[in-house]
Structures are given as C-alpha cells and as structure tokens.
C-alpha cells in the first residue's frame, strides 16, 4: 500500500498541475504541447502571483492532511498484504469506496481524479503513464533557470534543423518546432505588433520572443539603476524599535513587576509542610517561657502610685510625676499657627536630639484615618517608665540661684553720661606721627609733639595752631607734659635724650613772667651755689652736676624754650609731681640712670635707683602718687611703689602683663592703678586688695599704648585707653571711699576715627582737666578732640 499512499500523497500535492499538461499529454498534439510549454513559461514568469500560490498550497496541505488521516484509516481497514494481481481491482474497489471522498475532491478542486493513463505499450501490456508531477515548490527555485528544452546550449538550427522538433523537454517529449507562419502572417504580425513584441525568436523554443509589460518594467528599472523589484521602497519609514529618549542609565532599575512572578510550587509545598506541622503541634513557633522569665513571686513589688489620691503638699508625699497635658500642637490636625514652616522643620531635623525643644514635629493630617503609626511610641513609653522609676523618693531642697544674678548690676552707659562720644575737632599740622599730647591745666590749650621734632600748641576747641617750635631736627618729640598748676604755663618736652622746659608765649605777661621765673630759678640756684653773684639769666652751665642744665639755641630761646637738659638715653616717659617742682623722667636704655627725678627749682637731677635689680625688665614709666610721697616705677612686667620719705620699697605690683606700656594712678584715690600692656590687656589694680589685678579688660585687638584717668576723677569718673588698633576706649571707673565696696568699671564707648599707619594707631591720650573731653594723638598725624 505504500505506492498507493504515495500516489495518494502525490495526488494530493499535484492538484496544482495545469490541466493543459494533461491535455497536452493526452493529445500529444504539437499545438497543445506548445501551449503547455507556453503556460509553463508563463507560470515561471508570474512571480507576482507567488504569494497567492503559497496561500493556495497551504490550504491544499491542510486538505492533504485530512486525506492522510483518511488513508490511514484505510490502511487499518485493509490488510497489509502485498498487492496481488487483482490489485488493480481492489484498488479500484477501494477507489470506488472512496468515490464519495474523491468526488468531494473533484468538487473542491474541479480537477481530474486520475493521475495516470493506461496505455498499451509495444508489447500490448498495460503501461501506466503518470501525469506530470508538480512539485508544488516551483516558485521556490526561482533562481534556477527554467529549462524547457533539455538539449543544452547548442546551436539548435544546426543540429535539429532537419527535424520537426527542436529538442526534448524534461519528460523526454519532443518539443515541436513552432509553426512558421507564412509571409502573410509575418506581414500581419508586423502590422499588428502584439504587445511585448521584440522581433526576436527565442532560440530555446523557436517562438517569437515576447517580453511582457512587467518584464519591460524590470528592464527599465535595471537600466535606471533602480532596484528591479516593483514597489520596493528604498527609504521606508523608520520603525522605532527603541525609544528615542536618551536614557541616563542603559539598564533600568525598575523593580521586577509582579506579573512576572511565578509562584514556586516547591516553596508552597515546604510552607504547607511547616503549616501542617504547626497545626499538628510538631513545631512550636515561639519558645516556651523559660524559668527565669517566669514571675518570681518571692519578690514583692509595689506600685506606690497605684491608688494615688490628691493630697495636700507635704514633704513626705511625693506625687507621681505627671505627664503634661497634650497641647494643640500634638493634635493630628493642629491649627496652622502651630505648624512649623520649612525653616523650622529643617532646623528641627538638623538639631541633635538633646537640643530639640520638643521631641516631635507637629504634622497636619486630613483625617484621623490618615495618621500613620507613631514610631516613637516605644521610646516614649520607655522614657515615661524611666521617669516613674527614677522619680526621687526624697525631696531635696536645692539652692536654685542663677549665678548671674549674684553679680552686681552694671549701670547702663546711658546713665553714666556725659562721656566723650564724637570727634569735635581734628588737629592737623604734624608731619608724621603725633607721639604725645597734653591738655593744659587751664583747659584751653593742647600741646602735641611728634615725629617731626616739633612741639605745637593748639586752641583746644577751635583746633587752631597757636604756637610751634622745632626742638630737634632728626629726633622725635616723645613726650610733652604741662607742669601742673594754673599759676604758670610751663611745658616740658622730651626730644631724644634732651629734656626741654618751655614757657610758651601764649599767656598774659604776668603769668609768662612767672613761668620764666620758675624755670630760671634753678639757674639762679646753681649760680649761687657755684659762682655766687651773677644774675640768673646769664649763668653759664656749672661744672658741678654731671649733666648740666643749659640754655638752648637762641632760635629756641626766642620761641620760649628756656632750658634744656641732656640725659644719657632717649626719654620715653615724663611725669610731674603735683606741686610742679619735681619731674620724673624714664629713659629705659640708660641702665642705672634710667629713672631720674629732677628738681626744677634747684636744677638738680637725682637717680634714685642705683640698680633696678630683678625688677622684671627695663623700666618703662614712672609716676608720683597724687597725694602721698610715693613713687611708682613700672618695669616691663612689674610696678614697684617706693616711699620717698622713708626711701624704701613698699609694694611690688604684678599686673601679669607681659610688657607694660603705661600706667596711671587714680588722681583722687591713689590706691587704684590702671595698667595698659602691649599684650592688649587693660588691668585695674586696687592696691588695698591685692598686688594682682582686680579686673582685666580685654577689648582691644592690638597693643594698648596709653592709659589715662580723668584728672578730676572725683567728679568725672572716667578713664580711657589708646590702642594700636586705632581706637580709643572710654570706661567708667568709679572708686568709692567705702572700703567694702569695690570700684565699678563699665566700658562706655569705643571712639573710632584715627587711622592706623604702619601698625600704629593711637599713641597717646589725655583728658581735659574738668570736662569729660578727651584728646588723642594718632600715628596718622592728627590729634582729635572727643566731646
């Protein structure tokens, strides 16, 4: 049955075979043959129908499979025997049996059911001539040239010119020579040129070669360098297989969607196993409580606040620490004024836990339903338990005093008026720094001395320069001081190593004469001592003192400088005794002669300290006590007070400053000192309290250059310091007679205005003798009056 089945199969597949072939085979006529050939040629050309054909063949295949099943059932029905002689009969019978189905096929396809013909061969035997088998995939091998004539590439006319056929087709059939028309036909043909006429003869078939419209089109496209296939779009619309959006990361971090999850059956099984085990009690989900955890009934526990009833306040009764009642801001929907804004929120979040004033952030929720879980719940309850657990059982009375409240209240600067606040006058005229300045005891003149070697006298309020004298060409005037007392106007100035005594011509003739007498008295004293008789003014310097007082140059004498006195080294400090007869100078570099006390009336100079031994550096400045015969000498680190009457050391004051710049003695209460240091400290000493400073004031950024009490400190309790940072600072410093009360010191005002030159700011300050006005000398070449 195998051939049968194969035949059936073949039948099923070859439905496609053109009827023309069949006809051609049956007829065998040349015409039919040629037509079949033509058809085959055509079918080869019909490439545009390929798709259609493919569809058809699919349908047919499906039908075929039906047929297969049918045949299979036939197989089961029929025995598996070898076909006998009456095989045909059986075959026929089966054919007849299958007639219905075949007729069905016939109906479906409209094609002859027989695939073969029975012809008689030469021996008279039946010979089955099978129909053409159409492979069904003819369209597939479109690449291979369809050779209808199998004789090969030979000269047909040469070899077959004598025969009525021109070759053989694939089945071995003769391909008849196409009939050649008569001349008339050719003429007619030439007149009525069919479509696709080329005038050529296909050598393979001998027929006129005609080219169809489609082929012409193909040829044209080839000629035009186009793609031959019709309808081919070289520029199809781009299909975006990927998004044109540029992704930051090539890989997506999107979580795996749930729809991709495939529940594991294995895991389900294992879970179910555990569930079953738990249900049956084979597994205990929690540990059974151990013995330790069990309640120890031997320890009795008390809740001391279990039955708490409100009781009156009593030391033995300690009520439970209460939680504060919740406020508005603890509401889940607080009023908007309780809600923090962005800044508050950020501040709260940035703050440390200890610094937060409340341990939650008021948050607004639309409804109670939307309030999330409270994450601090456990912590809060724990803290509450701690509160209760650690609540004190004993009431302890604690001193609850703010240490600040124990300090005495400093009065406001407003209440301490008047004090200098603004610049009233600027004195310009010095070239270079102004080193020192002083207001005259009358309060109307200001004297200043500077790097340009001049001493200048100014009208204090208007700032008008009245008098000027150049003491030295190349040395700076380091100190200028007025002699105390209003009976005479005597000015002392130190330029370099020289001390000058000046009676400036600014006062009335009487006073001026008196001033001159005061200065010149010493000449007279010296004269009477040595060469008696000669007049005071013409006395030559005596030999007796090692460093004599002399008259200056006539130019200076004309200006009013009456006496000069050379010391060994540069004089840095100058201080008058209140009576105006003694003058102390300090020239730090002069070793044992650093400190000198001059007696004006006798023109006598003493060096009271043979050696300043172990006194903490070079001497810096010296002052007389305002009321008692006490003399203060400041060295770099200490201040010593000496009793002038008994000639002994009284006290060593240790301000703790590394380098004392200057100091001043309180004019009313001589037991108070202010000390300014180059280490930026201003120190107040109360000598009755200690040798250590009573108060340290650090307000300056740079070294302090000078400090000064107001001369009338009884009425105007002010003092001032000058610093290299260009500021002058005014302080209130009131000293009371009551020994129980300490001095009150209040910083009042920073006076700014002086410029800083080469790191130097304000070099000296002084007060007006009565008014709360101070004057300052600046390294910027100006003096300023502050009112």
């Amino acid at each position: 049955m195998a051939p049968e089945s194969s035949s059936k199969k073949r039948k099923a597949i070859t439905r496609d075979s053109p009827e023309a072939d069949e006809v051609a085979l049956s007829d065998g006529s040349a015409d039919e043959f040629g037509e079949a050939l033509h058809n085959g040629f055509e079918s080869h050309r019909d490439e545009e129908n390929d798709e259609e054909d493919a569809d058809d063949s699919e349908d047919e295949l499906e039908d075929g499979s039906d047929e297969e099943a049918l045949i299979a059932s036939d197989e089961e029905l029929n025995s598996d025997e070898v076909p006998s002689e009456d095989e045909k009969g059986i075959f026929n019978g089966s054919l007849e049996q299958d007639g219905a189905s075949e007729s069905e096929n016939e109906e479906t396809f409209g094609r002859p059911t027989r695939q073969y013909e029975v012809v008689k061969d030469a021996n008279g035997n039946d010979r089955y001539v099978y129909n053409e088998v159409d492979t069904g995939y003819a369209s597939d091998d479109s690449d291979a040239p369809v050779t209808t004539n199998t004789v090969g590439n030979i000269d047909v006319e040469k070899f077959y010119g004598a025969y009525p056929h021109i070759g053989y087709d694939i089945n071995g059939k003769k391909i008849a020579r196409p009939a050649k028309g008569e001349a008339l036909d050719a003429l007619l043909d030439s007149i009525d040129i069919p479509k696709g006429w080329t005038g050529l003869t296909d050598p393979a078939t001998g027929k006129p070669l005609e080219i169809s419209q489609e082929e012409l089109e193909v040829l044209r496209r080839i000629q035009m360098n186009e793609v031959p296939e019709e309808g081919y779009d070289p520029y199809p619309a781009t299909i975006e297989y990927f998004t044109r959006k540029t992704e930051q990361m090539p890989l997506s971090a999107a979580p795996e969607p749930k729809r991709r999850f495939v529940p594991s059956k294995h895991e389900t099984k294992r879970v179910m196993k555990i569930v079953r085990a738990i249900r049956e009690g084979r597994i205990m989900p929690y540990k059974p409580p151990s013995e330790e955890d069990e309640e120890d009934t031997s320890v009795k526990r008390y809740d001391i606040w279990a039955n708490e009833a409100p009781r009156p306040d009593h030391p033995m009764n300690i009520p439970a620490p209460k939680l504060p009642p919740p406020g508005y801001e603890e509401s889940y929907h607080p009023p908007p004024e309780y809600l923090p804004d962005q800044n508050e929120k950020r501040a709260w979040e940035d703050a440390d836990d200890e610094d937060k004033d409340k341990d939650f952030l008021p948050t607004n929720h639309e409804s109670l339903r939307k309030v999330p879980g409270y994450e601090r719940f456990v912590k809060e309850k724990f803290e509450r338990c701690l509160d209760l657990y650690l609540a004190p059982r004993v009431r302890r009375s604690k001193l609850n005093i703010d240490p600040e409240s124990l300090l005495p209240k400093l009065p406001s600067p407003e209440d301490l008026r008047p004090f200098p606040t603004t610049t009233a006058t600027i004195f310009r005229g010095h070239e270079g720094r102004v080193r020192s300045l002083a207001v005259s005891p009358s309060g109307t003149w200001l004297v200043s001395g500077g790097d340009d070697g001049t001493v200048q006298i100014w009208e204090l309020v208007t700032g008008r320069q009245i008098w000027s004298a150049k003491l030295s060409k190349d040395e700076a005037v380091n100190v200028v001081r007025w002699r105390p007392g209003t009976d005479a106007t005597v000015l002392s100035a130190a330029a370099g190593e020289h001390l000058y005594l000046i009676a400036p011509p600014i006062s009335d003739p009487e006073t001026e004469a008196h001033s001159r007498t005061i200065i010149d008295a010493g000449f007279g004293y010296a004269a009477t001592k040595t060469s008696n008789g000669s007049s005071a003014t013409t006395t030559k310097p005596t030999k007796d003192p090692p460093t004599p007082w002399t008259r200056p140059t006539p130019r200076l004498l004309e200006a009013g400088v009456l006496a000069t006195f050379p010391l060994l080294r540069t004089i840095k400090s100058l201080s008058w005794h209140r009576r105006g007869d003694y003058l102390a100078t300090v020239s730090p570099a002069a070793q044992s002669r650093a400190v000198a006390i001059h007696t004006l009336s006798k023109h006598l100079t003493q060096h009271p300290f043979r050696r300043l031994r172990g006194t903490g550096g070079l001497p810096q400045s010296a002052h007389f006590h305002p009321t008692k015969p006490i003399f203060f000498v400041a060295t770099q680190r200490t201040i010593r007070s000496y009793d002038l009457a008994k000639q002994e050391l009284l006290q060593i004051i240790q301000p703790g400053s590394r380098w004392i710049a200057g100091f001043d003695v309180h004019p009313a209460a001589g037991n108070n000192l202010i000390v300014g240091g180059y280490d930026r400290r201003l120190l107040w000493h109360d000598l009755e309290l200690s040798t250590r400073p009573y108060k340290t004031l650090r307000y300056h950024n740079k070294a302090i250059r000078a400090v000064r009490f107001h001369r009338a400190s009884g009425q105007v309790p002010l003092f001032v310091d000058a610093s290299d940072d260009g500021t002058v600072q005014v302080f209130h410093g009131k000293v009371v007679d009551d020994a129980m009360e300490n001095a009150s010191i209040v910083p009042l005002k920073v006076l700014r205005g002086h410029g800083v030159r080469d790191g130097l700011g304000v070099l000296d300050v002084d007060w007006h003798p009565r008014e709360p006005w101070c004057v300052s000398a600046g390294a910027d070449g100006t003096c300023r009056l502050w009112m």
Partner: protein
Amino acid sequence: MAGNAASPEDKPASQVRISLSTKQPDVSLAQNPGPILVNTNFRRYALSTLVNTLREAEKPTPFEFLINGTFLRTSLEEYLNATGISAETLLAVEYVKAIIPPLYVASYEHDDWVSSIDVISASSAESNSTSATPITPGQERILSGSYDGLLRMWNMSSQVLATSPSSSGGGHTAPVKAVKVADPSLVVSSSLDRTIRVWRYTEDSAEYSASLQPKIELYGHKASIDSLAVHRPSNRILSASADHSVGLWSTRKSDAPQAPPSLIPSLSSQGAKRRKVGPATSTPQRGALALMKSHNAPVSDTMFAPNDSTVAYSTSWDHTLKTWDLTSSTCVDTRSTSHPLFSLTALSSLNLLAAGTSARHITLIDPRASATTVSAMTLRGHMNAVVSLATDPQSSYGLVSASHDGTCRVWDVRSSRSDKEGRVGDSTYVIERESTKGQARKAAGEGTKVFGVCWDADVGIVSAGEDKRVQINQGKGIVGDQKAQ
C-alpha cells in the same frame, strides 16, 4: 466766605472748623471772620492763600500755622489723625509770618579763618540809637574779624573798604576773636592777645575809602577774650574771657581807669623784650571798669540784658549761666546746666536765654528768679558744639545758630515737641557752607567750622567760618515773589 469758595467742594473730603488768629498786628485780619469751615486736606499753602484772601492784601505774605504750639507741617487731616483731635472740635489756628528759606547770596573771601562777624545796617543802627545819619539800604557794612589779626570792613559788593592796621601799626598781635559794631563810627574788637581795642571807623562821602583808626586799647584780661557785647547808649562794653572773668569796660577814654602796667606787654616781661614791639603808638591804654570773677572756667559769651543795660548775662565752660548786676559788679544768679555753654543770645519777648552747648544742642534757659526749671526747651540737630547764636530781627521766636559741624541752623522755638527730656525743637532750615557744597561732609566739620553768625533784617544771615569766608544767606522776598505770581 471767600475761603470756602476757594476750597474745592466737589470732593467729599471731611471738613473742620478753624478759628484764625494772630499775635502779629501788621498781618491781623480787619474783622474777625469767626469759625471757618475748611477741608481737612488743606496744607500750609492752602491755608496761607486763605488768610491772604481774607486779608485782601495786595501782596500775599507766606504764613506758617501754629496749632497747639506746633507748626503745621502736614495736611490738616494728617495732623488731626496724628494728634487724635476730633474733626468736630473748633481748631484754634494761629498764623504767623513764615521764615523764608535763607538762600545763598554771596561769600567774602579772607586770608585766614574768620572768627566773628557783625553788620552795620539801618535796622542794627536802630537799636543803638545814637547814630546821627541813618543808613540807607545798600550802604550796609559787614565787619569781620579774622585769625590773621585784622578787622575788615566790607561793603555789600564784596569790597574791603577798610582794614585795621597790623600789629606793628597798633593792631591786634594775635587772632581776633570777637568784633562788635557799637555804632556806624565805632567798632570794638577783642583778640587772643588779651586786649580789647576800640576803633574809630570813618568813611569818606564817596564811599570808596574808609579807615579804621585805633581809639583805645583796653587791658585787663589775662587770657583770650572770646566774646564782646556793646551797649552804645551807656558806652559800656562787656567781655567774656578765658581767664574766667567777665569784664566791663567803657568806650570813652575819660571814663576808663589806667591800664594795669603789668599786663601791657612792652612794659612787663623779659620775654616780651625779645618780641617785636611796634613803634610807640599813641593809642591810649586803659583798664577795666570791673572784672567780675565768679565763673571757675573760661567764660564763653556775655551779653547785656535786652531791656536793662545794668544787667548782664554770661555763659561759661563751667556749665553755668550767671546773671550780673553791673552797677555793683556782683553775680546775682547762677543757673547750672549739665554741659559747658559756648554761646548765648536772648529771646527778649519770651524772657528766655538761648545757650549753645558743647553737647551739640541749644538750651533755652529762663533767667528769671521765678523760673522753676533750668532748661525750658532744647533745640537738637547740630552735630558739633554750638559756638554762636543770633536772634531773628523780625520775629521774637526765631533763632540762628552756628556750629563747629559746619552748618548754621535756623530755629523757631514755637515748633516743638515733647520728649522724655522735656520740650525739644527741631531746626527749620539748615544753612550749609557754600565752599563745601557738593562735597561729602567731613568728620567734626573739619575745614568748615562756623565760628560766628549774625542775623540782620536788611542783610540776612551772615556767618563766618574756618573756610576763610563770610557767607551771606538771605530769605527776604524770594518766596514772597513766587507766591505773588
């Protein structure tokens, strides 16, 4: 009423009833109009127009309006809102002639700082009634004293008519600190050289040349004489000196005693010998009638009492204002303030003295014995010591002050407000120095300090200062002309 007709009635602005009155008889209304209903959006200008309409004067005068002692600076409505006064009440409004903004007129340049200033004009001569020839307008003279020791007499076209002789010719040997005109032919000056000099001023008829001849030198003070006051009818001079004394002097040689010989430079000290002593001048040297010492600090300013030439006032750095009886040369009263006083002037009709202080303000002091408080009022605004004061010649409430901050300020004592420190006034106008116009103001008025100021009815406000100039500011008629258009 005319005022109502002028006011815009179309606006539904609220109205207030006011009653107009004045204390100045020359601008009073012919008949009392009674209460007038005015819009509350009226400002000073509208009210001024209203008053001028009511006065029916041919030339309108600018007025200021005082309500409850303060000047109206806003609209009536804002004033009522600010003070909380109901618009229903009758508002008593006093109108006064406005102080016209003093505009810059001219500057007279000097060689040195100008310390003081005085004016000879018809109105200033009126007060010193001895002058024989009345001064016609345009013949005003300005006398300035400078730090170069010279006095200069200027005419109104900024020409120096006369300069005092230098120190060698009998002039001051030190900066002049104060000048005063006694009458058009007599000038007094004081100086840092501790002298007061009386000068005879003569002018030829052609007005092209004039001369200042020393008449008397007065010796007695031992320090700079910072201020002078002259009473021509009694020929008395008052001086304030830094030697803590107030001097009383006579302008006549015959009245004055001999000068103390010790104070005359050429006779006294040895030092003076070396100084250049001028040729023996024939100027008579006289002493003081009295030197009154009671102050214990430099005396800054002095003046005769406005109505009584036997009473003098003086201010000092010792914070006090003293009243002196000149007949007995004793101090009769002392008023202590809390600051050094630098200058003094009198508001005679108010019985007040204005004193400029070092603490940058002006204190009004009632010198009468009955006064209970020392300081009646404080005028604040200056930024440095107030060193000179002058009163408005046309108003008994006006005042001009000169300060070291480089400005002059014009005040009206009626314009005041209450503060925690009592009544405080603010300046009406500020006169800057023309020399530094447009520049940034320097600290402490450096270079522009004003040392002296004088207010004359004809010339205007004349001020002198550190910028070596005399500056004239005048407000007369400028605004009035604009209003008339």
